[in-house]
């Protein structure tokens, strides 16, 4: 029904509506928090005091940008991986990326504490290591079959988690607290450096996704049919996987493991905007950004004087979403 209503709107109006919603979410995110900022001040109509100005420009603004980018990036990767693998449960985190990032962060925290500043870098390379392992192990069992790749991802994920847990078990008692950030997800350490790291990756991935829109559509039917249209199926799939790995690894390195966004948003977008690659990719980028910025605002304002880890909130919403889908399918 919602799709029919949306389809009835002219494209320009749909874009306008999307931008309006995004703008409202941004205003809400920037004005909400332990130090409230009036909406009029955001538009320069009233003055900000020094504290508000610091909070706005050094904390909330980079945090909002990071939320928008991370949400877009995760949803974009989910959409690409689901279409490329024809598997509605494909998700960037199924390739062991979070476990890899956690292992990288653990190593830098425990084994090389003097290298603490480089922890996000370690998390990034940990995530890439996980994807590399998945590809290498998957290659021996014909990684062209995406199902075996996903199984490899689960196996690598458990293996890396076991190493992380062992390192934490053998280390000093407070080390685990420092690594929890990567496991639960948080935007609290957002900075413009993070934004600068993630944005080119998300932009390039989106651009390539849009350029290869017809090829991605062709992959949805079947491999043989896509090949007969001149699509280089395996190279395209490998490029998608590597790009998604890089985007997700960068996001995990900056924000920790934010679950369910990559899995849930493309499903919502398909039911709202339709299923061709252009609608799916642009819709996922938009809804991912709107979703994560809203959830971050929620996680900052749910408890007084305390912030919930964003990964906890997305997981809670995600599980409810999938339960509602289950009931919907049962009702037929």
């Amino acid at each position: 029904m919602s799709k029919v209503l949306l389809a009835a709107l002219p494209v320009s109006l749909r874009f306008g509506l999307a931008i309006l919603v995004l703008l409202l979410i941004c205003i809400q995110a920037l004005s909400t928090g332990s130090i409230p900022i009036a909406v009029s001040a955001l538009f320069g109509l009233t003055e900000l005091d020094e504290m508000q100005s610091t909070v706005l420009w050094q904390l909330r603004f980079p945090r909002l940008l990071l939320a928008l980018l991370a949400g877009s990036g995760l949803a974009l990767c989910g959409a690409l991986l689901q279409n490329a693998s024809r598997n509605p449960l494909a998700d960037p985190y199924l390739f062991g990326i979070v476990s890899g990032a956690a292992l990288g962060a653990t190593i830098s925290t425990i084994v090389l504490p003097e290298w603490q500043l480089l922890t996000p870098l370690f998390a990034f390379f940990g995530a890439l290591l996980a994807v590399f392992l998945v590809l290498v192990i998957g290659a021996s069992s014909r990684w062209q079959r995406l199902e075996s790749l996903l199984l490899c991802g689960v196996a690598v994920s458990f293996m890396l988690s076991a190493i992380t847990t062992t390192l934490l078990y053998l280390s000093e008692p407070f080390a685990a607290n420092r690594v929890m950030f990567w496991l639960m997800g948080s935007l609290s350490q957002a900075s413009l450096t993070h934004v600068a790291l993630i944005s080119p990756l998300v932009f390039i991935t989106l651009l390539l996704g849009l350029l290869y829109r017809r090829q991605l559509d062709a992959l949805v039917l079947n491999d043989e049919s896509a090949r007969s249209l001149g699509v280089h199926v395996q190279p395209l799939r490998l490029v998608i996987l590597l790009l998604c790995a890089a985007v997700s690894a960068a996001i995990v390195a900056c924000c920790g493991g934010i679950a369910f966004v990559g899995l849930m948003i493309p499903h919502l977008v398909r039911s709202l905007f339709g299923l061709s690659s252009v609608a799916l990719l642009l819709g996922s980028v938009w809804l991912g950004a709107v979703f994560l910025a809203s959830v971050d605002t929620l996680s900052r304002s749910l408890l007084p004087d305390q912030e919930l880890p964003i990964g906890v909130v997305t997981s809670a919403i995600g599980s409810l979403f999938f339960l509602s889908m289950l009931f919907k399918y049962r009702r037929g």
Binding site: R86, P88, D217, V220, N222, S225
Partner: protein, 261 residues
């Protein structure tokens, strides 16, 4: 001077894992011919189609497409000349009919090129040819099997090929759609090679029948020449009778089982 053949097989052999799949294939296919590949399971019909898509390489001999060795075509060049309609197991994610048909433009469009007004006219025309006019916005996954096959035929038309390969296009379709799909394919007036199990459909709609058995062409000709009682009994290993199809002025085959004759 006659037309150059669209396809030419020159002493083509195919071995996979030291097993002989196709042997000594030597034939040419002229423009506009509707050719049926017939034969029991394992005869090599699908392998032959895969050779024409470069999914397999011949172990020896060569295949010419419009006079040029097929190995020299890139995947995109080949896609601009050879279209395939095969069986689809219901797509998991839905697309509109227009999305599927417009995929036919992939071999002809650079990545950054958008669809032109002419492309959209061609889309309409392709859908009209397969009897699905004004169904661009319909959901592909919710169409019947016959309609899905027709959408794939429209996609093949959009691809503007010189050769259309149909890989068991009538499987899982009811009788009405079996006839409809082949009628539409014939009316497209392009060269078609179709792997078909139903001999009577082949007899009715195809100009030329290639009967394969154990990787070799055992008969090549029109329906009257190929659909003979002795040959079919030998190839399919069950008794058969041939009479005249009252609808199509073509041979009609009836099969029995071992002790029926």
């Amino acid at each position: 001077m006659g037309h150059n053949p669209v396809v030419e097989f020159q002493q083509v052999q195919l071995q996979i894992n030291q097993q002989q799949i196709l042997a000594g294939l030597n034939f040419t296919i002229q423009p506009g011919q509707f050719v049926a590949l017939l034969g029991p399971n394992g005869a090599g019909k699908t392998s032959l189609l895969r050779l024409l898509q470069k999914e397999y390489q011949p172990s020896s001999g060569q295949i010419l497409l419009q006079g040029k060795a097929i190995q020299t075509f890139t995947q995109s060049e080949l896609a601009a000349k050879v279209a395939l309609v095969s069986q689809l197991s219901g797509p998991l994610f839905d697309l509109t009919v227009a999305d599927v048909v417009l995929m036919g433009l992939i071999p002809h469009k650079a990545l950054w090129q958008t669809n032109t007004e002419q492309d959209l006219q061609q889309l309409k025309h392709s859908l009209e040819l397969v009897g699905l006019a004004n169904k661009e916005r319909y959901s592909f996954a919710h169409l019947s099997g016959g309609e899905q096959q027709r959408v794939l035929l429209a996609r093949a038309v959009m691809q503007q090929p010189v050769l259309l390969l149909l890989d068991e296009p009538t499987n899982h379709l009811d009788l009405y759609y079996q006839h409809q799909v082949l009628r539409i394919a014939k009316a497209l007036n392009i060269t078609v090679i179709a792997s078909i199990h139903d001999l009577n459909l082949a007899s009715r709609y195809c100009d030329r029948l290639l009967l394969l058995n154990q990787g070799q062409v055992v008969a090549d000709g029109n329906a009257q020449q190929v659909l003979t009682q002795d040959l079919l009994t030998q190839v399919f290993r069950i008794p058969c009778l041939i009479d005249q199809n009252p609808f199509g002025n073509c041979p009609r085959v009836s099969f029995g089982y071992k002790d029926d004759l």
